[in-house]
């Protein structure tokens, strides 16, 4: 009898541990999102949440589905590889609602120089212009931005 006198203390201790373990399991089940660990040590649903954001740049395929005339002119010229939104800016809003959202008018004096201002840091094969090239005139006076090379007839 004296041998097991303190067994009750052990039982209480075991109950406290059991209660703690149950609480841990319950809290973990409630607090850890179900998708945690789906692909690794992170919340799997985060992937879908990040992917759900809407694009701001529509992508040139979207532009080209309507503006076929520009595409045709562009593919023949030197700017064939330049995507629409490289110059016109992000226009997914215009693609979603073409009538009410109009693209802003561009200033060629600012825009063209961004790429074509002469700098010896640029690749040698890239067409570059000196500051006095246009005498202050806007670029589109001579160059059509979608196909910028001046034809032999126009030069005359």
């Amino acid at each position: 009898m004296t041998r097991f006198k303190d067994a009750e203390h052990l039982l209480r201790l075991a109950l406290v541990f059991a209660a703690g373990a149950i609480l841990f399991i319950v809290f973990r089940a409630v607090l850890v999102p179900r998708s945690f660990g789906q692909y690794g040590h992170y919340r799997g649903n985060a992937i879908a949440e990040i992917a759900a954001k809407q694009p701001v740049f529509a992508g040139h395929q979207t532009c080209e589905s309507c503006h076929t005339d520009v595409l045709e002119m562009k593919t023949k010229g030197k700017h064939a590889g330049v995507n629409c939104e490289a110059c016109h800016g992000a226009l997914a809003s215009h693609a979603d609602d073409p009538t009410s959202v109009q693209p802003p008018k561009l200033d060629t004096l600012v825009l063209c120089v961004r790429c074509h201002a002469a700098s010896s840091a640029k690749p040698k094969t890239f067409p570059q212009i000196a500051e006095d090239h246009n005498a202050g005139l806007p670029c589109e006076t001579c160059h059509q931005p979608h196909s910028p090379q001046i034809s032999a007839e126009a030069k005359r």
């Binding site: 999102p33 690794g40 879908a48 701001v56 690749p123």
Partner: protein, 243 residues
């Protein structure tokens, strides 16, 4: 309201099913996109970069990057003769407005666009104590901003300096490789805006992607290969002075 034992026993499984769907959260956003069919990277061709800053502006527009912080930026290297180990690098406002004219035209100059390398064995995901940053099964390193506690470990861990703490949300932020675009079949905003094709999104799991032919036929490097990060941003024509 009185509920008999029989009714309660019938209600419990129904409640369990309802709770299950609550815990499951939002469903997959792009139903036709298979995570296991892609392994994303990028190709940057130094010999094509003109330092216009279009990529930096496009990234800021697409991803609401706060002013003064960058998910991608462009550096201008100036290497004078015999000074290969000590290049002079400038990147005014991340090249958001391009570069000022050269003051000293001696030596060689070139532009190096920088961004997250979406490392296969990235140091940043290894140090995150809460599982807020991770690499997706399709090879993109992302941040779960609802889990990030803003401890900045990952910002220190990144050998490429590609992360920052968003001053508004106080969570770590970085290039997502425009994950919301590539999962919809679009290219990234920086690639879309690059006028010379110096940046190309690459799907390394797609055998039809031109990246494979390019890697075979060009002298391509990654940044800091000695750090064994498994970087997936490949640079063509990279000068030895680039850090």
């Amino acid at each position: 309201m009185n509920i008999t034992r029989r009714q309660l026993l019938l209600l419990l499984p129904a409640a369990a099913v309802a709770w299950e769907s609550v815990l499951a959260g939002t469903p997959q956003a792009s139903p036709n996109y298979k995570l296991t069919e892609h392994w994303w990277g990028m190709l940057i061709d130094i010999s094509k970069c003109i330092g216009c800053g279009n990529c930096v502006r496009a990234c800021a527009t697409e991803n609401d990057v706060p002013d003064g912080y960058f998910r991608t930026w462009v550096e201008r290297y100036h290497v004078s003769d015999y000074e290969l180990a000590n290049p002079i690098v400038d990147s005014p406002d991340g090249a958001k407005e391009g570069f000022p004219p050269l003051s000293d035209a001696s030596g060689k100059y070139f532009f190096v666009p920088k961004m997250c390398n979406h490392c296969a064995d990235s140091p940043c995901t290894q140090v995150c104590p809460v599982g807020a940053t991770f690499i997706t099964p399709d090879g993109v390193v992302l941040v779960d901003k609802t889990y990030c506690v803003g401890c900045r470990y990952c910002i220190q861990a990144c050998p490429y300096g590609c992360r920052f703490l968003n001053p508004k949300t106080k969570t770590a932020e970085k290039c997502t490789l425009c994950y919301h675009r590539i999962t919809k079949g679009l290219t990234t905003a920086c690639c879309e805006a690059c006028p010379t094709g110096a940046r190309q999104l690459a799907d390394l799991k797609n055998p039809g992607d031109p990246i494979h032919e390019f890697l075979r036929t060009h002298n391509v490097q990654v940044l800091k290969p000695h750090m064994a990060t498994g970087a997936k941003v490949f640079y063509n024509d990279l000068d030895g002075s680039v850090r």
